[in-house]
């Protein structure tokens, strides 16, 4: 018997690639069962037509996360109510690549797509951190001398550092905080513009997250955390 909390903790590490939030927070995990090391998790998405590439990533990531728990011997992920459910469930079940899962419909794996949204997610987390550090009165240019060692111990800083490490950027204490998604330091005079664009990504992602939650709530008759009806 494996603790349910351990299964949920593993799934909470799996994120929607674009929304950058855990599947467990988004309400995407609809059922979770375990029997002598064999785990079945059921996933659901806001619409029947959610992007199949993102769906495939979440299903494979969920499988990998659950398999990493000691004692878990077998994992079956079931994506429900999606136009590509059959392809994804059987493809991931058989450990097939994305290209093989969608034969003829894809010309590459999903590495570049994942990297693109990882970069966006990093910039959003950086913008949130910078807003926190600047507080009410600060000027963005003041951030040019900020080093990793100067960061406060806050959830925003932790989330920033987590993504930064995942992208493989420099993690030494003297490394500058405000960098582009490929790790280049942003000059002081350009920080304002840099953060302004990151803000646009944040608005976009937050808007989409709100929509996804609303659509999921309407689709499955569950409460919408924002209390708004679509």
């Amino acid at each position: 018997m494996i603790e349910r909390a351990a299964l949920l903790a593993a799934l909470s590490k799996v994120r929607d690639p674009e929304l950058d939030e855990p599947l467990t927070d988004l309400g995407f995990v609809s059922a979770l069962e375990e029997d002598e090391g064999r785990v079945t998790a059921r996933l659901r998405l806001p619409t029947y037509f959610c992007a199949p590439n993102f769906a495939y990533l979440m299903v494979t990531d969920a499988k990998k996360a659950l398999l990493s728990i000691p004692g878990v011997t077998e994992v079956n992920i079931v994506l429900e109510d999606h136009f590509a459910s059959d392809e994804i469930n059987s493809g991931v079940g058989a450990n097939e690549s994305f290209r093989a899962t969608f034969e003829g419909l894809a010309n590459d794996e999903l590495g570049e797509l994942r990297a693109l949204f990882n970069r966006k997610a990093f910039l959003v987390r950086q913008e949130k951190l910078c807003r926190e550090v600047l507080g009410a009165g600060g000027h963005p240019e003041d951030l040019s001398s900020l080093r990793l060692a100067d960061l406060p111990s806050s959830p925003a800083a932790e989330r920033y550092l987590e993504r930064r490490a995942e992208l493989g950027l420099h993690m030494s204490p003297g490394a500058p905080v405000v960098v582009t998604a490929n790790g280049t330091r942003v000059a002081g005079t350009r920080i304002e513009e840099h953060l302004r664009f990151a803000r646009t990504i944040r608005i976009s992602v937050e808007g989409n997250a709100g929509l996804c939650r609303g659509l999921l709530a309407t689709r499955y008759g569950i409460p919408d955390p924002e209390g708004v009806t679509i």
């Binding site: 350009r190 808007g207 708004v228």
Partner: protein, 280 residues
């Protein structure tokens, strides 16, 4: 006519033909069908047309024929339209470029683009809009109006709009957020004003999915919530005039009623490109 002109505050309506012939036997709303109403009320409507580059040479000739017959100033393109085995096309396809060149030659200068999800290849972002960037650079004398302001990838649209002065944002489908998610709508408008500027945003009702009456009323009464104004500023009556009509009137040479015109030129000048091309 009642919904638009009697109660909906509309002076002139712009038809955006959408064929979707694989889904609708007679087409969704074709140029031919829209033209029937236009002929009954010539002063009330502007008729655009459409093309599908996958008909290649024959399509190009038919498109030219349509332009000669109806003299449209714009086209509505739907790149995600299915056709037989094809699940969509790109503006940079060989025959799409030939059609855009034809638009330029014939004076069809307003290119409205509805970017639906990219169906192939599945490994790409489903809402990839990079082809808009390419053709806007190639055809600087054409205006590209990206419908739905690129949603759900607002940032990609803003990134293109700030670099390409001939790219506009159409608010179709985005408008109703004014009711369901007013704070999101405020953010959306704030971002568009910052990157594209008040001269490059166009109201759209997407009638008959939504009625212009309540959209116009709510937009006229709308203001950025007070706690967001320090970041986003205010929506002035002049900005609202531009979005609701003046910007479209300029694109389509529609006479602007006395006292309604607004001076041009508050588009922000961004001399320094933002340093974060995330997609590259």
């Amino acid at each position: 006519m009642h919904d638009l002109f009697e109660i909906g505050y509309v002076d002139v309506g712009i038809f955006q033909p959408t064929y979707l012939s694989d889904f609708y036997v007679e087409g969704f709303n074709t140029t031919e069908r829209d033209a029937v109403l236009k002929e009954k009320h010539p002063d009330k409507f502007i008729l655009n047309t459409s093309f599908d580059p996958r008909y290649e040479q024959q399509g190009l000739e038919e498109f030219e024929e349509k332009v000669r017959r109806w003299n449209p100033k714009g086209v509505k393109l739907y790149t995600a339209e299915w056709k037989g085995d094809s699940k969509g096309w790109k503006l940079t396809d060989e025959w799409a470029l030939k059609h855009l060149q034809k638009c330029l030659d014939l004076g069809v200068t307003n290119i409205h683009i509805h970017k639906g999800p990219t169906i192939w290849p599945l490994n790409k972002d489903a809402f990839d809009v990079s082809d808009v960037d390419d053709v806007a650079t190639t055809f600087t004398d054409l205006k590209f109006i990206v419908e739905h302001v690129g949603l759900p990838r607002l940032e990609d649209f803003c990134w293109i709009a700030v670099q390409e002065p001939n790219v506009f944002g159409g608010l179709a489908v985005a408008m109703p957020f004014i009711y369901t998610r007013p704070r999101y709508f405020a953010n959306l408008i704030g971002e568009l004003l910052y990157w594209a500027g008040e001269d490059r945003i166009l109201f759209s009702s997407d009638y008959a999915l939504w009625q212009p009456k309540w959209l116009v009323e709510m937009f006229v009464d709308f203001q950025i919530p007070e706690d967001m104004q320090s970041e986003l500023g205010e929506l002035t009556p002049n900005i609202k005039r531009k979005i609701l009509g003046v910007n479209a009137a300029r694109l389509y040479d529609i006479p602007i009623p006395e006292g309604m015109d607004v001076a041009d030129g508050t588009t922000p000048e961004i001399t320094d490109k933002p340093p974060v091309p995330v997609g590259t």
